[in-house]
Structure formats: C-alpha cells, structure tokens
C-alpha cells in the first residue's frame, strides 16, 4: 500500500482497524473509475426523490454507480433556543421542551424513516453487514442539540441502526452537545448506549462573545462538560470554536484557543463565523433543506456582518494554524484539527466523497451517484412518517445527480480541503491544468512528493484563498 503522509499515516497506533479504506476513495473518485464494490443483485432500487430539473444533458462519461453508505447522519432538529447565526434546521421553545414538545413524535418519525431507508438499501444491496453492504463505519447524531434526547432515546436509535444498517466494531459514533449543564445531557448514558465521541459547541471562551452569539452557556461550563464527558468514558472529544466574531480581537481569539487547548480535547473545529442568507439562495422553499431566517436573526446578521473583517479572519486562521501546529496538532482539513488518530472518520467520508445515508429533516444523503435531501419543515416530515392513516412514507425533499464532470469537480474540491490533498494526476487533467498551474504559480498549491505518491495540496495561504482556486476548477 502506498504510504501517504496524511490521514492513513498519521493515525498512529490507536488508529482503528477500519481506517485503511478511507485512503483510497479520493483517488478513485473520478466518476468513470470503477467503484471498488461489486454490484449487488439487480434488485430494483427505490425510486429516488424527484430529481431537480436542472439535471444535465447526457454526459459523455457513464454515470457513477450507486454504492452502499459507509456513514449515517441523523439530524435532531431541536434546541432550547435558536442562535441568530445558525442556519441549521432547528425548532426551539415549546417544540423542544415541555408538554407540547415534538421530540417524541420526531423520534417515532425518524425511526420510521430509518426503517424505510434501510428497506431501500436492503433491496438495492441486500442485508447489512455483508460484503456487498458493509456495516457502517460511523454514525453522527447532529443538530440542533441531540444531547437534549434522553439516553433511552439514543439507545433506541442506536439499536435500530445496528439492526438495520450494521455498525462496524470500533465504529465512530458521535453526538453533538451543548456545554451548558441543562443541555449537555446524560453523557454516561450516551456512552453506555454506544456513543464514542462527543462534540461540544463551545464557540468561545469569552463571556461577552457567548452572549452576543446568543449562547446559553458560560465559559466555565465547557470545562465542566469536558470533565463530565471524560468521566463518562468518552475518549474522543471535539470542541467547536468560532472566529471573526463581532468585536473579537486577536488576543481574545488566542485566549479562547488556549482555553480550549487547556481542556485537552482530541479534536478542534475552528470556523469563521459565516453569515449566509439561505433564502436568497432559494433554499428555504417547501422542498428546500433550510428554514426561512427569522427577521430578528436577519437583522442580527446584518449588524454582525458589518462588524466582520477579512483581514482579521485571515489573521485568526493563521494564528490558530501556527499555535496548533506547535502543539503537535494536525490540521487535516481546512477547518478541522485533530490529535493523532482522532480525525473524524464520519466527516472524512464527506470530503472523500464516499456514500452516506441521512435521516431527519433537512438531512442530506449521497449514494455515490445522487445526492438527495429531506425538506427542512418538521410538520411535513412528521406528516409523512406519522400519517393519521395509512403506512408511513418517505418525507418530501429533493435530489440532484451531478454529471460526471461535476462529480469530478466535487472530488477535487473536496479532496483539496484535506491536508493529504489529491493525486497530482487529477490536477493534470486538461480541464483542471490551467487552474492548477495558476494556483501553483501563485503559491496556493504545493506539490507533495513522498515515495511513490505524488500529490497536490493547498498551502496555508492557499487554504485561506481556496475558493479562488475552486472557482477556477468548477
């Protein structure tokens, strides 16, 4: 096997055994390459959700084949309160807590979707945990605030996942949690149910920043949450932090970063605060994967946007890159750093363009060929999966099948987000060569020759300016 000085090589002794296949996917991702898996029995696939009309004219290259998922994402759309910068599908207030809570109906519904999606995979690829349909390598409970679910609910979900999809030994099972004492949930119970990894939305260690962001926790809560997770036996722990916050200077950002490091997490996701307008992008329609932005949040974003600064953001990123490298961390993706062996296998599946299944409102799945999503609205989701009469059916949503050229672009754009980059041969293709040459000349890309492998990856400056290259590749 080729030695790649990236994920595979750096995972170290504690790397789980199933890390190995991760390395191949980017390399074979170009659409015309034969998929590694053999085709399953020619069982009729369930009809995909209605395809977007934009689907391209017949392409010269054959479309990629459908493959079974290696990962499963489950979206839990509840929070105690909604943060004004957040674009995820979230319901808060009485929907999330109290007598009129929709959490129980949602659990019923998502379990019903789980069965339907699994039925589809059974038909396409046969039973789970077989060679034609290997057990999942990762499960991710995202949100929202999935830690608001009780341990019993998580246990019930995991049980059905294992039964219908299979979960490989040492699979990565992540739950997202908020650090506040009333939000972090029953960490020991989650661990007992099979959760192996916790991701805390710390965001900042400055009280004023947390308040401006609408977060409910205090800086000290993060340390308590981390301690609780460790006590519960969680061995892989992530903290999310935000930079380019309104009013944030380099000193404060450095201080948040240091405070996070002092808690000895295993993984850090550092995001520039990104204030989008999903409605303007046309994503908030009845079949869209986003909810409409509330007017208050819209106003908040306008104000905050005026307070953001490209130079400050770049400096914050550079500061983090240096400080984390000095501490022995590896920035294995544009916004993600890990201690050896703690790279998120689930998220790597996205960047390696491997197939993943998805459940819950607004969730996206990819089967190696088509990307599909559930519509964001919870009422429509519940109505489909918990109908007043008749059997549950799949919720509304949309789908898109990138043509082979688009698939190739996705492979290179996603692959370049990783520090292991992409095979140099991919960049030599005629359609990419000019852009790659331009990026090399401008110091955005560097060549990484080690042993037999010859790869291209973004320089630190190139990471910050990656869209300049990506927009030339599409």
């Amino acid at each position: 096997m080729a030695k790649v000085p990236a994920v595979g090589d750096g995972t170290g002794a504690s790397a789980p055994a199933e890390a190995a296949p991760a390395e191949s996917t980017v390399d074979i991702a170009p659409a015309e390459a034969a998929p590694a898996e053999t085709s399953p029995a020619p069982a009729p696939a369930p009809a995909p959700a209605p395809a977007a009309p934009a689907d391209a004219a017949p392409a010269a290259e054959p479309p990629a084949e459908r493959r079974p998922p290696v990962a499963l994402y489950l979206h839990v759309p509840f929070c105690v309160s909604v943060c004004p910068y957040c674009d995820f599908v979230v319901y808060a207030g009485s929907a999330a807590r109290g007598p009129r809570s929709l959490v129980e109906p949602f659990l019923d519904a998502v379990l019903a979707e789980l069965e339907l999606r699994a039925d589809g995979l059974d038909m396409a690829f046969g039973a789970p945990a077989t060679s034609a349909r290997p057990a999942l390598a990762s499960l991710y409970l995202g949100g929202g605030t999935p830690s608001l679910l009780g341990a019993g609910a998580v246990e019930r979900l995991l049980e059905r996942v294992v039964a219908r999809f299979g979960l490989a030994p040492h699979a990565e099972v992540t739950i997202e949690a908020n650090p506040g004492p009333d939000e972090r949930g029953d960490l020991a119970g989650f661990r007992a149910a099979g959760v192996t990894r916790v991701s805390f939305g710390a965001q900042s260690f400055a009280d004023a920043e947390l308040r401006r962001l609408g977060r409910r926790h205090a800086p000290d809560d993060v340390a308590d949450a981390v301690a609780a997770a460790r006590r519960a036996g969680i061995t892989s722990l992530n903290l999310d932090l935000l930079y380019d916050l309104p009013g944030q200077d380099q000193e404060r950002w450095g201080a948040s970063l240091d405070a996070a490091l002092a808690l000895a997490p295993d993984h850090l996701s550092l995001y520039a605060l990104t204030l989008d307008d999903p409605e303007a992008e046309g994503l908030a329609g009845p079949l869209g994967d986003h909810l409409a932005t509330r007017p208050g949040a819209r106003r908040w974003r306008e104000r905050a946007r005026a307070d953001q600064d490209e130079d400050r953001a770049a400096a914050a990123y550079e500061l983090a890159t240096e400080r984390l490298a000095a501490a022995g961390w590896r920035g294995y993706e544009l916004s993600n750093w890990a201690r050896a062996g703690h790279e998120s296998r689930h998220n790597l599946a996205y960047w390696e363009r491997r197939p993943y299944e998805a459940l819950g409102p607004g969730a996206h799945a990819f089967d190696g060929r088509t990307r599909r999503w559930n519509a964001a609205r919870l009422d429509a989701y519940l109505a489909a999966l918990r109908p007043r009469s008749g059997p549950p059916h799949l919720p509304p949503g949309g789908a898109e099948t990138p043509d082979p050229a688009q698939a190739e672009v996705e492979s290179i754009v996603l692959g370049l987000r990783l520090d292991r980059g992409v095979p140099a041969a991919l960049g030599e293709r005629p359609r990419f060569a000019a852009a790659i040459g331009w990026a090399m000349a401008n110091g955005l890309l560097e060549r990484l020759a080690a042993g037999e492998s010859d790869r291209l990856r973004l320089s630190v400056r190139g990471r910050l300016l990656s869209n300049e290259l990506f927009a030339r590749l599409v």
């Binding site: 994402y73 995001y271 520039a272 990104t274 992008e281 994503l283 994967d289 490209e310 130079d311 953001a313 770049a314 400096a315 990123y317 544009l334 916004s335 998220n347 996205y350 960047w351 993943y356 998805a358 607004g362 969730a363 996206h364 799945a365 990819f366 990307r371 999503w373 898109e400 990138p402 688009q406 672009v409 996705e410 754009v413 996603l414 987000r417 401008n442 955005l444 990471r463 910050l464 300016l465 990656s466 869209n467 300049e468 990506f470 927009a471 030339r472 590749l473 599409v474």
Partner: protein
C-alpha cells in the same frame, strides 16, 4: 393640383424648448385639415417616442399645409419644423435656409430665453421675415405686455407686429396663418430654369432607398426624371417625388419654391448627402447651390456594448442610425477596460444622450459611454505639426507637446436677476470669463460669458439649472480655440494605464480629479491575490495613489454532507463572475467597476 409659385410660402417655427412650437404646429395641421381629426395625436411632427417623451424635437420635419386665406385663394404653406435645443442649431440653420419666413414663438409666462435669441439670430442672418407670436396667453400667469416689451427692447421687434395666441385653445392661430400669407414673401426662382434643388435632410427607406428632402430653388422636377447629384456626381432614375402631408404623398411634379421629397432609389446615404444639389441629368444646372457646412462634432465619447458579443450588432445599429441622423460621426476604437466599441462625435451632450438612447431602444442594445471629451488640437514640439485628439487616451506624451488648444464658446444665459452672483461664480469656477450683462426687463438678465467648451459639457447645464431652480436657460456658440494649460491624467491599475479612464483637465484641476478617480476606483476594484496600487499620473508623475489590499481570505469554513451541492453552485457562480471580469495586466476588474466610475457624477 398645383399651386402657383406666388401662392407658396416656406416657413419654420422657432422657439425655446416648451414654448409651444409643436402644439402650434398641431393647430396648423388641424386648421388646414391636413390631418384627419381622428388621426390627430398631439405633437404630430414629433413622431419619435423619444421626442414625445422629452418634449423636444430632435429631427426636422416638413409638412405641406393648404390654407384658404382671407382673399379666398388657396395657398401652399410648407412648414419646416426645427429642433429647439442648442445642440441642434446646425439643423435649425439648415431648415431656415429653405425658408423665407419664421414664426417666432415666445411663451407669455417665460419671456425670451437663451434659445429664443439664438434662433432669432440664426433667422436674421438668413434674412428671414420674422412673425413674432406670444403664446400661452390663456395661462393666468401670462404677461404678454412684458414679453412684447422684451421683444422690442432686446430684438427690436416692433410691438405692432406681435401676434397673441394660445396654441393650446386655438386663440389667434388663424391670424398667424394669415400673417404667414401676408408677410412672408413667396419663393423666387424660375421654374423654367435648369433644376437646382437643395437637399436639407434625408432618411433611408428599405423600399425606396435614400429619400432626400429638398427645396427647389429653380427649375421643375417631374416624376421619372433622371436626376444628378452634383457634389457626389451620382445619377439615378428617381422613383417617386412628392410632398409632406405630413406622410409622404406622391405628386406629378415639384416646381421652383416648393418643398418636397425625392425617392432616389440610391442605397447609400453617402451618395445623397445633405447639402448636395439635385439637378436634372438631361439638363444640368451650371453650378451647385452653396450647400451646408458639414455638421461639426463638438463632443466625443466612446460607446461600447456592455456585453462584448454585441459589438457587431452595435456596428450595424450605428450604420442604420446614421442613415437617419448624419450629424453624428463614428469610427471603431477599442479599450482595455471596455473592449471593442466606437468613438462617436456628437453635436452636443443632449445629442449624445439621444443617440445613445436611440441605439439602446431602437436596436435593443445595452451600452456604456466613456466620459465625454471635446476635440483638442495639439501642436507637437519640434515643428512636427498639429494633431487633433478627441480621445484622451490618444493624447501624445507631455514631452512631445508644444501646446494644447481647446475649443471655446460664447455662453448666453438668460436668468432672473436674483441669480447673477451665483451664475458669475459658476462661470468663473469653470474657467469662464464674464463678458456682458443686459437687462431684458427689470427682473431678468442676459449674461454672456466666454469659457472652454470642455467645461460646458461636464455638468454646466445641470449646475445652472440647480443654481437657478430651473429658471435660467443657456445657449452657446463656438468662438474658436485657445491655448490652455491642460494635462492628461491617466489612471493606472497595478502600473497599467486604464485607457477609458484617462481625462484631460486643466492643470489646476488635475490633483482633485486624479484623487477622485483613484478613490472611486479603489472602492470598486475587488481585492486581488496581491496588493494593487491604483495611481493617477500626469506622464510619469504620480499625483494620487491608493492601494487595494491583497485578498486574504476566500474560503468556505464548513463543507459537510449537506453543503456540497450548495457550495458547488456557489463556486459556479463565482466562476461566472470571474469570466465576466476585464483584465488590466494581471488584475481582474469587474466591468461594473468601470461602468460605475463612468456613470457616477459626483457633482
């Protein structure tokens, strides 16, 4: 039916904008039953949409009115309409040359305005009989006595000659027609002599070829005569001749003194230029009529399609429009910032605006114009001659220039006296010098200044209007050229000059202009991967500089399972944006940036 020569009258109506010229023409058409009342629209002669919208006449038109006068006889009155704006005084003088009389319309509420004067002087220069009419006497604010007083004191028009009318309600209009019959002499010219007919306008008809509008000075033209165009030497079998009613109505013959049209069948307007003389091929006249000075372009600008592939369509449109309006000139030019386009010469700023709008409307084009410029005459050093420069980017280097001469104008402003101080300040602020002041009445003055044309075409008209709350009117005429201390200010992006943004300004103004351009451009140029200096320079001397900092971050922070489709689309959008960029050296600049710099008037 032919009308004898002694019962023909050729006349124009001259007026300041909005004084009621077109409405009066409408009444003439009604009173003489020239137009079926059911087909009567307002401003019949202004048939272009633009003319109706702007309330101005852009193009001269002619119409034959048949009027039964007090003596019971039928007269043929040929009305040649004239544009009212200063830009078109050339066209006015052409129309007047075909007339023996002019109806001068003055608004009873406004009095004499700058163009009233200009047009009267044009008419007097051609020895026309002037029939003064004070119009709009139906309005409560009308003050005909004051206006009559003004006409007498300023233009020496005897008060007893002045007619009072309301073109709107028709009061006094028959008296004007009668006055035309009584006061305007019939055309002279021997119908038996060899044909001499002056072309005063033309249009192109896809079926009839070039249709020329003529006034016959002498001789007679019959249908199916073979004609000769004396200046171009081209001869042709004429397809049709006729009169304007106001649509083209064929007739058997046109005789000396008459105004009409001739369908030449010629395919190129170049063969039948305005000012040429039409004569008979069989029996040509000994010499041509004096003709006209060709229209002189005073204002120049680059006109570019906003999307490059429209260039051939623009070329096509210019050629077609030119058939209808020979008073603008065009030749191809190209610009780093704006791509391929044309350099156009115009009679003035309004003319420029009108040509651009007609190109956009009538040909469906989306255009951008560079900043207007005048034509400079540049005396090169070491006796290497004189060059004419109407595009700032073509100005020779400072070292090669002995002297730059620029056109000057005499500016006449009619304004309420209260604004004298402000107008003086305005003129001197535009390098003007005060010449003279004359009171039209106790409240209104006529001010004359001399100033460079370049100063007039920037924003003088707008400022004049805003400083006088719209009360002042202006007019200008060329008075030759003068040497000036002018410099070319170039704008450089990353060391590369951006041709479309070069301007020629007075040395004293160079700093301010340079700083302003650089500042505006800095805000419009997106950050690049490297730092980009934006400089204004005179030759190699940098007079202003700002810097666009290097781009430091363009990255998608998050890209997870739900983001991939969306982000790919976002990147595709960014790519489209990049493809629309113009490149100046290695700097990518959205065309919108240039457009914004060219469009913004920060007065």
């Amino acid at each position: 039916m032919t009308i004898p020569q002694d019962r023909l009258r050729n006349f124009s109506i001259i007026a300041h904008i909005d004084h009621g010229k077109s409405t009066l023409a409408d009444r003439f058409l009604e009173l003489t039953h020239t137009i079926d009342p059911r087909q009567m629209t307002s401003q019949v002669l202004d048939s272009m949409d633009l003319e109706r919208e702007k309330g101005i006449t852009i193009k001269a038109r002619a119409v034959r009115l048949e009027y039964t006068a007090a003596d019971g006889l039928r007269y043929g009155l040929d009305l040649i309409d004239t544009p009212g704006h200063v830009d078109f005084s050339y066209e006015v003088s052409r129309s007047l040359q075909a007339c023996e009389g002019a109806v001068l319309v003055v608004d009873a509420t406004q009095g004499i305005e700058a163009q009233t004067l200009a047009n009267v002087y044009l008419a007097l220069r051609q020895n026309l009989v002037i029939i003064p009419v004070v119009n709009k006497i139906d309005l409560p604010s009308a003050r005909p006595d004051v206006v009559i007083e003004e006409l007498e004191s300023v233009l020496a028009i005897p008060r007893e000659e002045v007619l009072l009318a309301s073109a709107k309600d028709g009061t006094g209009v028959p008296e004007i027609l009668q006055a035309i019959v009584d006061r305007v002499p019939p055309p002279k010219g021997d119908p038996e002599a060899p044909l001499q007919a002056l072309i005063f306008d033309s249009h192109y008809d896809p079926y009839k070829g070039v249709v020329v509008y003529v006034r016959l000075d002498q001789g007679t033209l019959h249908g199916h005569d073979r004609i000769l165009l004396m200046a171009s030497g081209v001869d042709s079998e004429l397809l049709e001749l006729g009169v304007f009613r106001p649509q083209l109505v064929p007739v058997e013959r046109l005789a000396a003194g008459e105004v009409g049209y001739v369908a030449t069948g010629l395919k190129s307007v170049r063969d039948a230029r305005v000012g040429d003389t039409v004569t008979s091929h069989a029996r040509p006249a000994a010499h041509a009529l004096p003709g006209y000075q060709p229209a002189k372009s005073l204002v120049f600008a680059g006109i570019y399609p906003i999307s490059g592939p429209d260039y051939p369509a623009l070329r096509d449109a210019l050629e077609k429009l030119h058939l209808n309006d020979a008073s603008f000139s065009f030749e191809p030019e190209s610009s780093v910032a704006l791509g391929f386009g044309f350099r156009l010469g115009f009679l003035g700023l309004l003319h420029m605006e009108i040509v651009q709008e007609r190109l956009e409307r009538e040909f469906g084009l989306d255009l951008i114009a560079s900043a207007p410029s005048v034509a400079y005459r540049v005396v090169l050093s070491h006796d290497r001659g004189i060059v004419e420069v109407d595009n700032p980017s073509q100005m020779p280097n400072a070292g090669e220039i002995e002297e730059i001469r620029e056109p000057w104008v005499k500016l006449s402003v009619v304004s309420p006296a209260a604004y004298i101080g402000s107008l003086m300040e305005l003129a001197t602020g535009h390098r003007g010098s005060f010449q003279q002041m004359e009171y039209l009445d106790p409240q209104r003055v006529l001010l004359t200044f001399e100033l460079p044309l370049a100063e007039v075409i920037v924003d003088l008209y707008d400022q004049l209007k805003s400083r006088t709350q719209g009360y002042a009117s202006m007019d200008y005429e060329e008075i030759g050229e003068r040497a000036a201390d002018l410099v070319k200010v170039d704008v450089l992006v990353n060391g590369e000059p951006v041709d479309a943004l070069s301007v020629i300004v007075h040395r004293e103004r160079a700093q301010v202009t340079g700083r302003d351009l650089v500042h505006r451009l800095r805000r419009l140029i997106p950050r690049q991967l490297f730092e980009v200096p934006i400089q204004a320079a005179i030759g190699s001397n940098v007079i202003a500089r700002e810097t666009v900092a290097a781009m430091r971050k363009n990255v998608l922070a998050k890209c997870y399972g739900g983001d991939i489709t969306r982000k790919r689309k976002l990147l595709e959008k960014q790519k489209e944006g990049k493809q629309r960029m113009k490149r100046v050296g290695s700097v990518e600049i959205p065309q919108e940036a240039f457009l914004a710099v060219l469009r913004v008037d920060e007065g």
